[in-house]
Symmetry: C2
Subunit: 216 residues, 2 copies
Amino acid sequence: MTALPPPLRVFLVDDHRLFRSGVRTELSHGFELAGEAGEVEEAVTAILSAQPDVVLLDVHLPGGGGQAVIAGVHATDPDVRFLALSVSDAPEDVIAVVRAGARGYVTKSIAPDSLADAIRRVHDGDAVFSPRLAGFVLDAFAGAVTEPADPELDQLTPREREVLRHIARGYAYKQVARRLGISIKTVEAHVSSVLRKLQLSSRYELTRWATDRRLL
Amino acid sequence: MTALPPPLRVFLVDDHRLFRSGVRTELSHGFELAGEAGEVEEAVTAILSAQPDVVLLDVHLPGGGGQAVIAGVHATDPDVRFLALSVSDAPEDVIAVVRAGARGYVTKSIAPDSLADAIRRVHDGDAVFSPRLAGFVLDAFAGAVTEPADPELDQLTPREREVLRHIARGYAYKQVARRLGISIKTVEAHVSSVLRKLQLSSRYELTRWATDRRLL
DNA sequence: GCGGCCATCGGGGTTCCCCCCGAGGGTTGC
DNA sequence: GCAACCCTCGGGGGGAACCCCGATGGCCGC
């Protein structure tokens, strides 16, 4: 038989002490706790000195969120690997923390065994995402934002989408016209077309439509 | 010396297994785990058969939330006591679960010792709330909804707030007038007054102002 | 090359938004 | 009883929003 590999050293960042306790208990076999923290600043200094193999990082933290921790640590040591661990499965949260430099993102509803597996894979260099979240990340970095084929949005021309974004942000026709370097009449034409295609009747419904789809 | 009292029997409802593990570990001294569950239906049946002294209940649960658990259990056994335990400190969540019948509400950032104390107090019949949350509950049941003194909103008259809500939802003046049974001119007057008092300049800004404050 | 789509504009009109002015009736408080 | 509000309206006006109709180019595909 071969010698057992040394246990992975895991650092834990979460503002909920009860949750930290849970992770600690569940990971007690096969992992070594390199330290833990509940705030951003505390976490950054402790991680830099503890040099863990993987950092388990809560996204919602007082003092700047998990992104602040990643930014602070990577400023001096870009090699530390982070696995985001959050209750949220909102695309904004996922994308924000991944952009900051997290190598994976799993929700707290994960089974302890799966978490252990995710930690090992992140340490090995893999990117780990809950199946439901993988799509968001790929989309965000594919740039093209292929998106789950929104037939409503697809029937709009590029220019119409452009105008739509401005209108949804609250700009008046005159302002949109100046920003896009076109005439008010053209803006009206595009808006009219958008409203007809989306079967809406006013710019207010349009803003709601846009915010519902997170196109702000 | 007197005999030690029997340990309180605690039931745990949370969809995050890691979190359950944390609570289990931290409460291992002085409490007995009467069972645990991660979903609404599972929780209701298990609680009814386990007859715990106190149920620790997560607010955000798949399948109807913590309120559904309380409703299901209280339908057959109104004596079970619930202590809500949530990451959220949003007034809606607090009020909803307290209306459903929870005897207390603490956030997951609570220290383990405080949680143990809160459980004992709920069992003794007390109502336990994090200091920041007590105000919401009292307000909600005092009916007056004094709210954390929003000076912006306070300077509006009741009728102005009423009109504001409709406008923020996207109704045209004519529609607001018909819904409130008043003239368009009166609606205009109220809107004008609201815009002046809030130092806004258009109904669009008003919509954003209202949604920022969650007055939808 | 011609029809079709897109983007760009104009004219002209209706409706809505927001403002100014004034005004009457109701309530509360001093 | 009077001041101070609040709620209720009207007239009138300027500007923005939205619509319909028509028109000019450019680009693409058949």
